[in-house]
């Protein structure tokens, strides 16, 4: 904070292409735009954005879960599962079924596909059988996991971070609170 690197005094911060970027969505949009993961036109972007925003809402619940007080944990977990299986997964199951393509938008991999595989794996960490009613998502998960770059990221030793544990929670609280 003191050396002025954090525009709004917050993390994440990503130094990329000479910029000190903050604000998660801004960073993600830039990466998606730069590396061709953002569709080919405005309408494909619109669908990618809608899907990403929905998934982000779900991921936000999962992200906040370790920080919920012990007495709220069971209720929050139930809500995550309810939202995943009734609000979010059905949308993507239907999208894949309707167009029959391998990817959510525009017949090629986009930011939406990457966020979805991340979300599916995060929810499965909480409830392993969650994809039982979603055959399209099961196939999607297998397909995405086998894409070379993603397959590499899913292997041990990659920068991918493990599920949050008590040590992680303690560190975050220590760094971010006075």
């Amino acid at each position: 904070i003191l050396d002025g690197s954090l525009m709004f005094q917050q993390l994440p911060l990503v130094e990329i292409d000479g910029m000190k970027m903050v604000q998660t969505r801004a960073i993600l949009s830039y990466i998606a735009g730069k590396y061709n993961l953002y569709g080919k036109d405005l309408k494909e972007r619109a669908f990618i954005d809608m899907y990403v925003e929905g998934i982000t809402d779900l991921m936000h619940m999962i992200m906040m879960f370790p920080f919920s007080p012990p007495e709220a944990k069971e209720k929050n977990l139930a809500l995550i599962m309810e939202r995943a299986t009734h609000r979010y997964f059905p949308v993507f199951e239907k999208a894949l079924k309707q167009h029959g393509q391998d990817f959510l938008v525009g017949n090629r991999v986009s930011w939406a596909d990457v966020q979805l595989i991340e979300a599916i794996l995060a929810v499965e960490e909480k409830t392993p059988a969650v994809l039982l009613g979603f055959p399209q998502l099961q196939a999607f998960k297998t397909r995405m996991s086998n894409m070379p770059a993603i397959k590499k990221f899913l292997q041990p030793g990659s920068p991918r971070k493990p599920p949050p544990d008590d040590h992680y929670v303690a560190t975050v609280l220590k760094v971010l609170t006075d």
Binding site: F8, A26, A46, D49
Partner: protein
């Protein structure tokens, strides 16, 4: 069937207001379909029009768009309010995301319980004057241009003006220490499309009132 975008939300600011601002700034006429009762929302849900069962929803160019940011991104890009390249977009996105954080504070203020209001206001004022406003004051000072990014009107300017006006509704002298933001406010308010939107009779919604809260809660619960 008109070609105008159609906004589905309740008759108040909430999460739809920034969309109204963007459309107005772009000079785009739009229609509004207000949710007045819980039945209105249920009808919309049953029709399958809400991708994630939520509003805001905007019918635009044949798509029923949901998710405030997705809608904002689409409008900004379509009407040239999103910069000229990836780097300008990046700056616009950073500014807009932070403004959204600030907006959420302003939006929740009228709904704070009476005993928490004063502390909440103090928190808003602290964040606005110590975390957010200095950033934009410095940006304007450093490049000396009329607009935040790329020397032309963008979504960042529109959203910042919206936030500045909301801030003043909470505390009228909140811009006292920010001369460049004051002149920015005057300048952007004079952009013809925005000037029109700021006049009485436009589709801009008034500040939320505590008395409206029960009605809104009834629709959404």
């Amino acid at each position: 069937m008109s070609g105008k975008p159609k906004l589905h939300y309740f008759n108040g600011r909430g999460r739809m207001e920034s969309i109204r601002w963007l459309l107005a700034a772009a000079g785009v006429e739009f229609e509004e379909c207000f949710l007045e009762t819980r039945d209105d929302l249920l009808k919309l849900l049953k029709s399958g029009a809400l991708l994630f069962q939520q509003v805001p929803m905007v019918e635009i160019d044949g798509i029923k768009m949901v998710q405030t940011r997705a809608i904002g991104n689409y409008i900004a890009a379509k009407y040239n309010l999103y910069g000229k390249d990836l780097k300008e977009r990046a700056l616009i996105d950073m500014y807009v995301e932070a403004i959204i954080d600030l907006d959420e504070l302003f939006m929740s203020h009228p709904f704070q319980p009476a005993d928490k209001k004063e502390q909440h206001l103090a928190n808003i004022v602290d964040k606005a004057t110590n975390r957010h406003f200095p950033v934009y004051e410095k940006v304007l000072k450093d490049h000396g241009q009329d607009f935040l990014v790329g020397n032309q009107l963008s979504r960042a300017d529109v959203q910042l003006l919206e936030a500045l006006l909301m801030a003043e509704e909470c505390k009228p002298d909140i811009l006292a220490k920010f001369p460049l933001l004051q002149s920015f406010k005057a300048r952007i308010s004079n952009v013809p499309t925005i000037k029109k939107f700021l006049q009485p009779g436009s589709q801009r919604k008034p500040p939320p009132q505590e008395k409206d809260l029960p009605k809104v809660l009834k629709i959404f619960n």
